[in-house]
Structures are given as C-alpha cells and as structure tokens.
C-alpha cells in the first residue's frame, strides 16, 4: 500500500514544499472546502449527536466483527452474490484476476476505490494482460499522468486546470484550439471517452462505502455517475471492501449518510448513492462478487488504542483541516492513505518497521483539528502520540536515548533554584555566538533539529527573576 520505496516523511515533504504551484493548488482547494464544510455542518443542530451515534456504531461493529462478517456472507449469498475472503493483497488480486479472466475480459472499468489502490490491483491485472480503466475524473487524470493520488476524495487536487488540459491534449490527441481549460470542457472530454467504455466493458470493479450485514446490502457514495454506470451496466460486478466497512443494520445508514457527504464534499447530500443487495433479476449485473479484505486490518484491531483508526469512513475532512497536509500535500505521506488518518493508519497496517512508517506519526503538529472534524470521532492526536511512543520504544537507542538523558539532566537543573539561575547565566554567555537580534536561527549538532524549521528566542539579558528582584529593591528605596 505504500508507494514503491517511499521516503521518510520529512524528506518527502521537503520536495513538496519546494513546489510553489502545488502549494497554491492545495491552499486554494483546502480553504474552499473547509469553509463549505463549516456552513453545511452548522445547518444541523444535532451534529454532535450524529457524531456520537457514528462513533458508537463503528465501535459496536468492531466489537462484533466476526459475527457481522459471517452474517454478511449469509445475506449476500442468499441474495445471489458470492463472498470471497482475502488475507492479503496477493490473495485479493488473485481472486479478482481469476474472475476477470474467466470472463475473458481484456478491460475492466473501475469506480474510485482506495482499497484497490491499497492492494495494487491495476498492476496485478496488467500482469494478466488486463487493462483497468479508472472512471472517476480525478482518478483518470492521475492514471493518464502515471501519477499517484494525493487526496482521498479529490485524488488530483495537486493539479490545476492548465495542467489537466495539457494532459488531456496529449492523452486524447486533441487540437489545442478544440479544448479550453474550463472544468466543464475538461469533464466533457472524460464523458465522451468513458461512455463507450461503460457500454461495452463486461466487468466492473468497485470499492464499498459500507455493507449492511443484516440485509447484505452494499453501498457506494459518489458524485459523477461513473459509480452508477459501473454498478449497473456491466454483466459482472466485483466489489472489494476492507472488513472494517461492515455495519450492523440498515438503520445505521440514517447516521452515516448524514455524516459522510457533509464531511467529505461539504454537501447536504452527494449527487448519487447506490445501494444494492446481491443480484437483482433483470436489472444490473447478473453476477456479483464481494471480496472481504484483511491486509493488516486484524493487526490494527489487536491494538486497543490504535484500532480506532479502523472506524474511518474515508471522508477526508481531516486532510482538509490539517495545517501539515495543506502545505506538504498528499504525496509526502508515501501511501494511498495520506493526511492525519494516513499518518495513523499506514504505519499500523504495514507495521512500524521501515524508516518511512516510523516517520509518519511525527508528520503532525498535534493541533487537534483532525479530531474536531472527524465525523466518527477518531481521536487522531491520541493515536499519533501513542504511535510516537511505540516508535521511540522500538528504536530504543540513538537519538531518543540521548534525548531521554538530556531531559533527565534538565529536570535536575530545574529542580533547584541555584542550579537553575546558574544555568541561565551560563546560557546567556554560551549563546552569544549564535544570537542574531533576539533569536537563534541555527543551533549546532544534534540540537539543529529544533531550529531546522523554527527560530528559538534567545535567553534574555535579564530574566524575570532579575526584574522582580530589581523591582523589590526599587520599592525599598522609594516606598
């Protein structure tokens, strides 16, 4: 699920931060959607009650996951669908490939699914000579550009209209005079290209926003209609979902369908939501497969603090409010799950082994905005801090030991007035070669980590204690 050979976050972020176009695109987009979200959320006086219900529904679903999955399997099968279980990406790809090959399909159409990005399905299909065609406009843009998605909801958020126009001119062999950079004109190109695919390709692959164990109903929430096309027109439909997407009852949709659109696209409701239950005679695909994917999720579930990350309904509100995401963008996280949720989900799914995974929990200022907007109340800052602890524990040497030793000596100095005042005096002398104005912009050696991204105020010539003593002395002279 991480990109091939991802860099640790700070190195990747530095590259992104040096791209002024990317920062402009991101700043504009995230500011706009933040404001819209605030407006539609403020419309609902019971928003907090909905969040409480959403959090409880997900906690309950995780508590009873084995029985709900078994129930889902029974309901889907009863409704004419087939259920498959996949422990990892390899198994899931095998299941999907064998279905596609059995139908002798050379092409499949896909509705945006982060889960299929997670398992690298497109590459796996290509090995069998099958081309996966992305039908979501942004996913199509990313695919044509041989790029990676950088946002859960708007995967091409890092590209502006001029860049997309260039891409379409090249990919579809169009004359520059025939295509403006108006989003409407660009969307029209995609409509024409994909309509033929929708009408002819025999197999579609989708993700799932939720699946109701009680009834076997699967749901996809979307905007463009490419989802409806994929879910309705082909003969065969394969839906891949992480095991955590199961919900106990149809009634839970009255909560989730209020929380999700307002948090993600900042609308009262997204244009299209499709719900289907197995196979519907004479309407839509007459063969339906549901693939239940683990791929690291049971490992996350084992961790009592970290398991909350599985409650995520992929709305992307946490990305849009994150000051770190807004500046560095999604690619820096080196994974299909970017932003604050990615910083807690990716390292748990792949394990805290690589330098990349270990760097992600530190890609945050811990401001807490992500927790505040999360529609199912995932306490992202709490998990970030917890994972940082795990990383330190795992490393168990080098810098973090040094830091622990330094903290101990600082504590010893701060515990005693004489030692503290002596340290202040020593610092005033010691800092002299480093101070410019009233700040220190570059600390030497191991302490440079602090000043790499911020200034340090210099220790002032007179401390508060000095000033207080002078004031007391002055009062004695002039009572």
């Amino acid at each position: 699920m991480p990109f091939v050979d991802p860099k640790p976050y700070p190195a990747a972020a530095r590259v992104a931060l040096n791209d002024p176009q990317l920062r402009r695109n991101l700043g504009k987009a995230t500011t706009a959607i933040r404001e819209k979200r605030l407006r539609v959320v403020a419309e609902l006086p019971d928003w907090q009650a909905l969040r409480d219900a959403g959090a409880a529904i997900k906690t309950d679903a995780m508590n009873r996951l084995p029985e709900l999955l078994e129930q889902l399997e029974v309901s889907v099968t009863k409704a004419g669908g087939q259920v498959h279980w996949a422990r990892d990406a390899r198994e899931a790809n095998q299941i999907v490939s064998s279905i596609v090959l059995r139908h002798r399909a050379k092409e499949v159409i896909k509705i945006k699914s982060i889960t299929t990005d997670e398992i690298g399905l497109n590459d796996a299909l290509e090995l069998h000579g099958v081309t996966a065609i992305e039908t979501d406009l942004a996913e199509l843009i990313v695919q044509l550009a041989h790029d990676h998605p950088s946002h859960i909801l708007v995967p091409a958020i890092h590209k502006n209209r001029a860049e997309i126009r260039e891409l379409f001119l090249k990919s579809f062999n169009l004359e520059p005079a025939d295509l403006s950079d108006e989003p409407r004109a660009l969307a029209e190109v995609a409509r024409r290209y994909l309509r033929e695919k929708f009408l002819t390709v025999p197999v579609a692959i989708s993700g799932a926003n939720f699946a109701i164990s009680e009834t076997g109903t699967v749901g996809v929430v979307e905007s463009e209609g490419n989802g409806r096309m994929c879910l309705t027109l082909p003969k065969v439909l394969v839906s891949i979902m992480g095991i955590e997407k199961v919900l106990p009852s149809l009634r839970d949709l009255e909560v989730m369908l209020q929380l999700l659109p307002r948090s993600s696209t900042a609308e009262r409701m997204n244009p299209y939501t499709s719900l289907w239950t197995g196979v519907h005679a004479g309407d839509g695909p007459q063969e339906f497969h549901l693939v239940l994917l683990d791929n690291g999720r049971t490992k996350v579930l084992e961790d009592e603090v970290g398991r909350q990350a599985l409650h995520c309904i992929r709305c992307s509100a946490c990305l849009n409010v994150c000051p770190v995401y807004e500046r560095a963008g999604g690619h820096a996280y080196g994974s299909v799950y970017p932003g604050p949720i990615g910083a807690i989900l990716t390292p748990q799914l792949i394990g805290l082994e690589s330098e990349h995974a270990q760097s992600l929990p530190f890609a945050s200022s811990l401001c807490g905005a992500c927790y505040e907007v999360c529609p199912v109340k995932i306490n992202i800052p709490e998990i970030l801090v917890y994972l940082r602890g795990e990383v330190v524990h795992k490393k168990g040497n080098s810098f973090f030991n040094l830091e622990a030793a330094a903290m101990k000596s600082v504590a010893w100095v701060f515990m005693d007035k004489t030692r503290y005042e002596f340290a202040q005096k020593a610092a005033r002398v010691g800092q002299m070669p480093l101070v410019k104005g009233n700040t220190i912009s570059s600390l030497p050696g191991i302490m440079s980590g602090w000043t790499n991204s911020r200034d340090l105020p210099a220790v002032p010539q007179k401390s508060f204690r000095d000033l207080w003593r002078e004031r007391a002395a002055a009062k004695r002279v002039h009572p």
């Binding site: 009873r64 087939q82 422990r87 309509r195 149809l250 519907h280 049971t298």
Partner: protein, 215 residues
Amino acid sequence: MSEPRDTATARTAMLSLIRAAIGAPKAALEIPRQYRLETGHTDLTSLLEERIADYRATVHLCNSSDLPQTIAGILERLGVTHLAIPADLPTDWIPANLETLVDRADLEPRHLETADAVLTGCTVAIAETGTIVLDHSSAQGRRALTLIPDRHVCIVFQMQIVDNLPAAISRLTSSVTVGRPLTFISGPSATSDIELSRVEGVHGPRVLEVVIVRE
C-alpha cells in the same frame, strides 16, 4: 464459490485472527440516538423545493389535475422528441405527440442513448437534503433507464415527501427487504475534481427537472 479451497482457508484464518484480536465476544452496544428523527419543519414541500433548487436542478409545482400539461410543457421546452419511459408509467403523463422508448429487461442500455430524456416517478423525496430516492418499482424502471438519457424529469407526489434521512430510511426499509436496489439522487451528476470547482453533468443525466405534485 470460485476458489472454494483457497477462500475457505482464508475465511477460517481471518475469522480466528479477528476473534483473537478483539478478545472475548461482546454484546451489541446500545447506540445513542439523540439526533433528530424529524426536523420540525411544517412546510416540507417548500423545503424540498428550495433544497433541490440548490443543486441547480429545476423544480416545478403543480396540482394533480395540471400534471399532464406541466409535463408536456417541460418536455417541449427541453425540445424532447424521443422519450424513454418505464413500462408502467401512467399513460396520462405521456404527451400524445411524442415517440416513446419503453424500458424492458432485455433492452440494451445502448438503445437508451437514443432518447432525449427519461420521465419517471419516485419512491421517496427527502426534504432536508433535497434528495429523490428510486427503488425502481412502479413508474421508475430499471436502474439504467434513469442513468443513460441526458435529462431526467422526475415526478414527486406530496405524500412521498419525508422530513429527513431517518424518516426516509424507515420508509425505504421494506424496499430493501423485498430485494430492490435503491438510488439516491441529489441534483444532476456533478464533479468537483478540478480545483474543487463544481461542474454539473459528468456521466449521469446533466439536467434534472423535478415536478412536485400538490394533492
């Protein structure tokens, strides 16, 4: 099942891993449902009208006796000559001078492309979110019918209007349990994928016209 042996092994392994991860079996949680089951709006028709219009769909209001004329007027204004309809659409809704394409189970979706518009009823309309829900039963046709033609004219009767999502889900539960698919439609298809600027009309119908019928 396609790979009985493989997927059965995976199934057993996954379920036992999950059981081990969550520990002792837990009873169902009581879900706190303190959210509003109704909005308290008294005039749901006006609310629905306003909320649908917010999606840049067009809303018309009429009395049941005026419905045929209203439909005819809309189709004329849109320049529709070839109209797709579900097989069980009330005949008095269909203007006399129009050529119709009647939906049936073996109709290739490609044929629906020849229609200028599709005319249907609905199952439920949600006032608070401006959403129309089809369960593809009477007067609604198969899912492809309301997807392929570029314009969708949808008739909503006042008694089909509900307050908010909780009210809608409770009314739609029986449709799901008898095995019907559901399609929630909120405005014309749209994308915000390019610089988050909203464009109406990508793959689904680019024009949505809703007629609310007072009874």
